[in-house]
Each structure stands twice: as C-alpha cells, then as structure tokens.
Amino acid sequence: MSLKDQTALRIVFYEGDGAQSLEAQDRFAAMSRLLEKGFAVTRVAGGGRVAPADRASLLVLGRFDGGRAPQAEDAHGQVHIRFQDISGFDSNRVAATVETVRAETNAAKHGDWKPWFPVIDYDRCTNCMQCLSFCLFGVYGVDEQQRIQVQNNDNCKTNCPACSRVCPEAAIMFPKYKAGPINGDVVSDADLQREKMKVDISALLGGDVYALLRERSEKAKSRFSKERDANKALTERQKCLVKLASAGDIPPEVLMSLPSPEEIARRAEEAMAKAQAALTKQTL
C-alpha cells in the first residue's frame, strides 16, 4: 500500500475534568516514547488551543477517575474515538497499548521508511525540468499545468542529494541533509555559483555513468556498447563511482545499485522525453 493511502492514529493526552493530571516526568516519558514510535500526540490542557479534529482515528489516553475510561462516539460519525485508561501505566505500557490500537484500527505503521525525498521551493523554481530529466528513478513528474512536482517520493534513493546539485536555482531541498542550502537554509550567492562544482563532477566522470545521465548523447551510448570486457568495464565504473561519491556526496551504495548502462540509457531517454514534452506544452 502506498504511504499516501494510509490514515494515521492521533493520540490525545486528556487531563481535564474526570481525569487526573500526569506528573510532568511521566508525561514527558510517555510522549517521547510515542513520538519515537512515529505517532502524533496532542496534549489538551486549559492553557491554549490545539489543532482541530479531523477524520483520523483518535485514541484518548488519561488517568480517568475510578480507572474507568468513558464511552463516547462522534455525534457526526466522522471521527472514530476510543478512550483508554492509563492509570499506573509506565511509558512502555502506554506505547504497547497504543501500538495494539494502531494495529486494530489498521492505521499507518511508521518508521519502515526513512523520509528522504526532494522538496521543491517554488519561490525559486523556474520550471526548467533539469531535475526531471536527470532523475532515473521517476521521482519527478509534472502536474496538469506542466508544473514540476515530486510524484513518487518513495522511489528516491536514501541519502542521495544528487538532483539538488543539478538544480540551477538551488530550489531542491532535502530537509534531512546535513548542510545548507540543501537542508533548507537560506540560499547564498555562492550556492548559486555551483556551476563549477557541476563541471568538476562531469570532468571526474569523463564519460561514465553520470556523464551519460548528463549528456544523453549517442556518443556516450556507443562508448558503453563497446565495453566488451565486462570485468574491465565494471572495475572502471567502480573507480569512477567512488570518485563521484566523494565529490558529489552521493552514497556509494546508491551509485553501486544503479542499473546496467543500457537500462540507464533507456531511463535517461525516457526522463528526457518527459521533460521535453512538458517544456513543449508550456510554450504552446
């Protein structure tokens, strides 16, 4: 099932009428545990507002009077609410109880995938389609207005920020990247002068995998087809990939898992055609 098709379970800590307050350290321990397990948690208290309810399932936790959780349901039948008494529970037991309810309600299970994917800053993006034509994994596409968008973020290769380096506007962010501006930090003039870096990468590669990605040329294709000695070709490629990994900060395992040169050429052409079609439609 795609990540987008799942609903999440929202946990609410209730400490109002009919329930006792949690000690601050118990509240912190239980919240931390649930957040580490990927749940969204709301604390309702007298002093302030929280986000309104939506159609997600709600699990209301509290130290209810008499140890009895109330029974209630949404008058409009839109929100699925459950109450659970947690008197005497430690944070492990709270987490285990929540996990049981998550499984019963078929809500999303978190943590199976590291959320690593490109996020586009549309204040900067000029819709040039370089990212679309660069990515081999079909992460990018266009919407009905031929505007670039991230369509298949779970296809993105974990820890690989390569497409952000081809964007001429520094418009592609990976918020979990270690450094700016890719992590979302403000873009500086120096960042925009990264053309030099790009040239260095292509020089380094000198016609290997990523040069093929960049040039998409017949020349590059014929070079690959002449690689008759498979072992030699593989060694050469690995050498280049290791260099690229250090120059472009691309994880070696991502580079090593690239498909065969022929498949790369096929996908590159496909991506290029998609980008070209979008650009043509824009000008019509």
Partner: protein, 134 residues
Amino acid sequence: MTPPRILYCNCTYAQVVPKEVKEAVLKRLCESGVAFDAVADLCEMSARQDASLKRLAEGGAVKIAACYPRAVKWLFHAAKAALPTEAAEILNMRVQSADEVCAALFNPELKPNLPAGKTTKPSAEELPKSEVAV
C-alpha cells in the same frame, strides 16, 4: 487575544536536530501548563501527504519548533496544506538553543517568519559592517 498554537516536531527519523535541544524543548513543553501538538516527523507526514497536516496548518496562528523555515514551508506545501504566511512562526532547533526556542514558544506574541518570495542571503561584502562576524 488567544495565544498562537504550538506544534513540536521530534524529527524522529534522522539525527539532524541535536538530541539535547529537542529533548529539552519537549521536556519544557511537558512541564508547562500549555496545550500543544507534537508530531514525530513532519518530513514523514509530508511524504505520506498526511491529512492531519491540513488541520495543523489551518487551525489559526501557530508557532512551530522544527528546523529551517524554508524547509517547513515547502514540506507543508508539498502535502497540499499551505501554512499561513502571516500567521506562522518557525523556530529552528537545528541552529537555535533550547532556551531561545522555548522563550519564543512561550511568548504570546507571534513573529511570522516564513520566507516569502525568492530570497538570497547577501554575501559578506553586501552586509552592513555590524552584521559581519569578525
């Protein structure tokens, strides 16, 4: 006037926010009497286009403890849940201390700081002398 809502992001699936900062911020929130929303990882929610981002964005003025304002703005946008530019203040736990973040969270005054438009950080030569670190 009702104080802005508070939203805390735990950045669960990466170690980019210093652990001691996010723990201290969450601890202070738990010790306070305030109501707040906490999410495990805004990035994960954005990736799955979690519908709750909409309710988190649309519930009025909000202060968000997470990371860079530019990243947070476009993460919400990617999930079709635009944050209100004039009513959202982002505190950056990647670079601010827990004290700074908490002081801003508990301050009822909202200081909206979502980037609007294409901004580029000026180079050192362009900055007034007082802003250049020596």
